[in-house]
């Protein structure tokens, strides 16, 4: 357990800010891809760090802090606490991916990566979540099933569909 983690566990906000600075980019990228919306990702990132502050005393160092935080972030996003925000934006993301992607990166990258980001944002929510967790973040289907409450077979069906939709989107 690093010094910053140990100090933050005791309530040291300066140490906690260091943890934020070190991990904000990783958490925001995850929130952005899972939610498909830049504004939602900003809210979710804040939620993740507020939850981290509350839960940090329970971290015992059995796993790497970064892995533990990552899992916590996935739980926060999947918990649907901000489903009211997503309600409209899912439709927007589906209908107009350009509008979504335009707001999501201050420094957009051209070419395939940008096309892929846009296509991911335009996926149906379930397919997007499984694709991001499996093919970007490296979770196994069994882990995704545990995190989301769906069956592993359903997770595989979502993934197959997501890959097909993305392939078609990239070919257009």
């Amino acid at each position: 357990v690093s010094d910053a983690v140990r100090l933050a566990q005791t309530g040291d906000q300066d140490a906690f800010e260091r943890l934020y600075r070190e991990n904000a980019g990783r958490v925001y990228a995850l929130c952005l891809r899972l939610s498909g919306d830049a504004r939602d990702a900003t809210d979710l990132t804040q939620d993740v760090f507020v939850h981290l502050w509350e839960k940090l005393p329970t971290f015992r160092g059995e796993s790497a802090f970064s892995s533990w935080l990552h899992r916590l972030a996935v739980n926060v996003v999947l918990s649907g606490r901000r489903s009211e925000f997503r309600r409209e934006r899912v439709v927007v993301a589906t209908d107009d991916p350009d509008a979504v992607i335009g707001a999501r990166h201050s420094n957009p990258k051209p070419g395939l990566a940008m096309d892929l980001e846009k296509a991911i944002a335009a996926l149906p929510p379930g397919a997007r979540a499984v694709f991001v967790l499996h093919d970007i973040e490296g979770y196994e289907h069994q882990e995704i099933a545990e995190l989301t409450g769906i069956a592993t077979g359903t997770s595989k069906a979502h993934l197959f569909r997501a890959r097909r939709l993305l392939r078609e989107a990239l070919e257009r």
């Binding site: 507020v50 649907g80 309600r87 990566a113 379930g126 595989k156």
Partner: protein, 216 residues
């Protein structure tokens, strides 16, 4: 290594992050498995692209002042935080309402999936019209189309190699299990358009697999 495991590991294979032994096992499997090799080729651009996406994206603004303000108002709590929900967020009512809206838009688009006719089997056309209003008809069309190809296979009208058939059967078991689970979920929540869409997508997947196997 079986097809299912190969498919699970494709993203790491494409990203080049597999242990050498695993990579060798997949290479050996693909050398003798047309279906897996073809699938790997199809999804390669997606998986290679996914592997190259940046893992860090800085938030558009510094969120620390807001976070600091929020945690400053809260006590440090020793207790555990609320557990992850049992139900995924995309199946919750507000998200389903959004999905329903999206599907209403989609349902105005009429597309036709023409199934390539495998040698010796009947031509099949599935009309994917009015998705939200004609689910049962569409489901019946997919089931019939798949059954016709399976029937042609079982009656020997279309011949495939025994190894290919074994692989096909393993894949179909996974797909059929997903169909059963989706249908069970739909039975409990018949108005769920996201589930209907996912179920139709799974039928499409099954039909596509059968079509590809019998047309080679």
């Amino acid at each position: 290594m079986n097809c299912e495991r190969v498919q699970d590991l494709l993203y790491r294979y494409a990203a080049g992050t597999l242990a050498p032994e695993l990579k060798r096992e997949i290479d050996e499997h693909m050398a003798g498995c047309d279906a897996c090799r073809a699938e790997a080729e199809r999804v390669k651009p997606v998986l290679v692209g996914a592997a190259r996406l940046p893992r860090n994206i800085e938030p558009p603004a510094d969120l620390w002042p807001s976070i600091s303000g929020q945690i400053g108002r809260r006590k440090l709590v020793e207790g555990r935080f609320a557990p992850a929900v049992a139900r995924p967020w995309w199946t919750r009512p507000p998200i389903l309402a959004a999905a329903a809206m999206a599907l209403v838009v989609l349902s105005s688009t009429v597309t036709t999936l023409v199934v390539r006719r495998p040698p010796g089997s009947p031509a099949v056309t599935v009309q994917t019209a009015a998705l939200s209003g004609d689910f049962l008809t569409l489901e019946a069309q997919y089931v019939r189309a798949s059954d016709e190809i399976l029937g042609a296979l079982n009656q020997g009208e279309v011949k495939i190699a025994p190894e290919t058939r074994a692989i096909l059967e393993r894949n179909l078991r996974v797909i059929d299990q997903a169909i059963v689970e989706s249908r069970d979920a739909l039975a409990r929540d018949p108005a769920n358009l996201e589930l209907k869409d996912m179920l139709l997508s799974t039928y499409e997947h099954k039909l596509d697999l059968l079509r590809r196997v019998t047309s080679t």
